[in-house]
């Protein structure tokens, strides 16, 4: 086993891991059409989880702040988007693709706007007083999560909410005998666009350079004359907005959401950043895709194991690489 892992490492690094998983799953599943469906579902799920997790990972990398309340942005994003979609139900049902697209665009925009505002509030009020105190940070963000969940319960009630989908994303595309849900393709592509935009920002802009440098060595960036605390607010807000967008997309994916959504996603998001390695966007993507694929394959092959599959995946990867697959250079 160990020799196999090092061999993989040599031939292309950990990036090949999802491919290997998909390859093994292909033979275990045996039915190509099911395999394609599951793989697409896994990739779509992975991309949405990536959006939810990327902010958490960057925020931790940059300021050593672990925000247990992060999943509140996910659930608020989902509910805000669901409400907007509910109001625009007329547009969604229309035959016009333009109106469809406008509705879903507005819903996502509302989620993003909410995420930015809530992120600012969260950073300034909840987190800033406890920057350098991990214990109180965990406790306070946990307290904030409780309050946020109660607010969702108070505003939207405890009963599951139906999320209408736009007409043009309903149904599947048939390719031979393989049916691929349109929404999954949409979610995957949107996630990919966001990932590429993030990657471009981090690698090709001065702000991105500062963030990457700050993740490695905060003090040195300050000694070069940059206020990292101001940069941090921006990153925190963007991270929260991405989480809200991820939640909004998730709402459309599930089509039925409950207030427990945040708590459920929190565990998955944590597992993703632990697997991927804190502080690196590539690692987070890798972790998210792995979790998405494994969850779907195992859900098909051994439904009883599905819920524990993430946990087992995390254990295996931590035993192999205690700092995650692709942690930021520290």
């Amino acid at each position: 086993m160990e020799r196999l892992l090092t061999a993989i490492d040599r031939t292309g690094g950990v990036n090949l891991l999802p491919l290997a998983v998909a390859f093994v799953a292909f033979f275990l599943i045996g039915v190509p059409s099911s395999w394609v469906t599951l793989t697409v579902a896994g990739l779509a799920m992975g991309m949405m989880i990536f959006l939810m997790a990327s902010g958490l990972s960057l925020v931790f990398g940059l300021m050593d702040v672990l925000n247990f309340g992060h999943s509140a942005f996910v659930s608020f994003g989902a509910f805000v988007a669901a409400s907007v979609l509910g109001w625009l139900a007329g547009w969604l049902g229309s035959e016009s693709v333009a109106l469809n697209a406008a509705a879903i665009f507005l819903a996502f925009l509302a989620a993003i706007a909410f995420g930015l505002a809530a992120g600012w509030f969260f950073e300034a009020v909840i987190i800033r007083p406890v920057y350098h105190d991990h214990l109180r940070q965990i406790l306070i963000t946990m307290g904030a999560l409780i309050v946020a969940e109660q607010m969702i319960l108070a505003i939207w009630g405890g009963t599951p909410i139906n999320v209408p989908r736009p007409n043009f994303l309903e149904g599947s595309v048939l390719m031979g005998d393989v049916a691929i849900e349109k929404y999954r393709v949409f979610a995957f592509l949107l996630g990919l666009v966001v990932y590429l935009a993030l990657k471009f920002t981090l690698n090709r802009t001065r702000i991105g350079l500062l963030i990457r440098a700050g993740v490695e060595n905060r003090e040195m960036v300050e000694a070069l004359g940059f206020r990292i605390d101001r940069l941090f607010i921006a990153v925190f807000m963007v991270g929260s907005a991405l989480a809200a967008l991820g939640g909004a997309m998730w709402a459309g994916y599930e089509t039925l959401i409950t207030p427990a959504l945040g708590a459920e996603m929190m565990i998955v998001v944590f597992i993703v950043v632990i697997i991927g390695g804190l502080g690196s966007i590539e690692g987070t993507l890798l972790g998210a895709i792995m979790v998405g694929l494994v969850a779907n394959y195992v859900g098909f092959l051994a439904p009883k194991l599905a819920l524990a599959s993430n946990m087992i995946l995390m254990m295996v990867i931590l035993l192999w690489r205690p700092n995650g697959l692709r942690p930021a250079v520290k």
């Binding site: 490695e216 000694a223 990292i228």
Partner: protein, 234 residues
Amino acid sequence: MSLLSLKSMQTSIGQYAVLHDVSLEVPEGGVFVLLGRNGAGKTTTLRSIMGLWEPSPGSVRFRGTDLTEMHTADIARLGIAFVPEDMGIFGGLTVEENLILATANGSFDKAALERIWRLFPALETFWTKAAWSLSGGQKQMLAVARAIIEPRELILIDEPTKGLAPSIIDAMADAFREISANTTILLVEQNFEFARSLGRDMAVIDDGRIAHAGSMADFTANTDLQESLLSLSA
């Protein structure tokens, strides 16, 4: 008036008082060497000047401006560069990216860049390499290069020769000599030979206090003083 003036600076890290009373006048120009045993407080002095630890009570003045309450970033913007003991290289960034971060507006001044390449040719060779792949000496060169890519008034350098090969130390000494022609350097050093060859003025810090300050020439001549302050056998 001296360029940098520390007045009875006291710094505590957590509950441990590291600096008890550090008063120092660093004149403009040349290399000022701060010597002292391990744990005497040299690094803490530099970090306190830079605002990375907060000295209290006591004051740090730079050209008359009080730095004590200022943010590290604002201190840096006054024209003070810091080369920490661990060099503070961003390993995941390329040599070029490390340097461009140190510029004021994100673009290189051609003359400054050529000067760096002349002083440290290795940096031009590995220009697009990730900084973690550099050797220890090359990393130190990069760290110093970051400090001089923009015109600065004062450069704080913490033990730049630590763990370096003799040939690289010589190159470093040449570079410092050239830099110090128009920039003041406050150099913390354990390597007395290196320090002696560069320093014009010097001070010895011991147990969080300035134990001696004067010219390097006088200190070099006085072996008894060296013996008692640095436990050096001449």
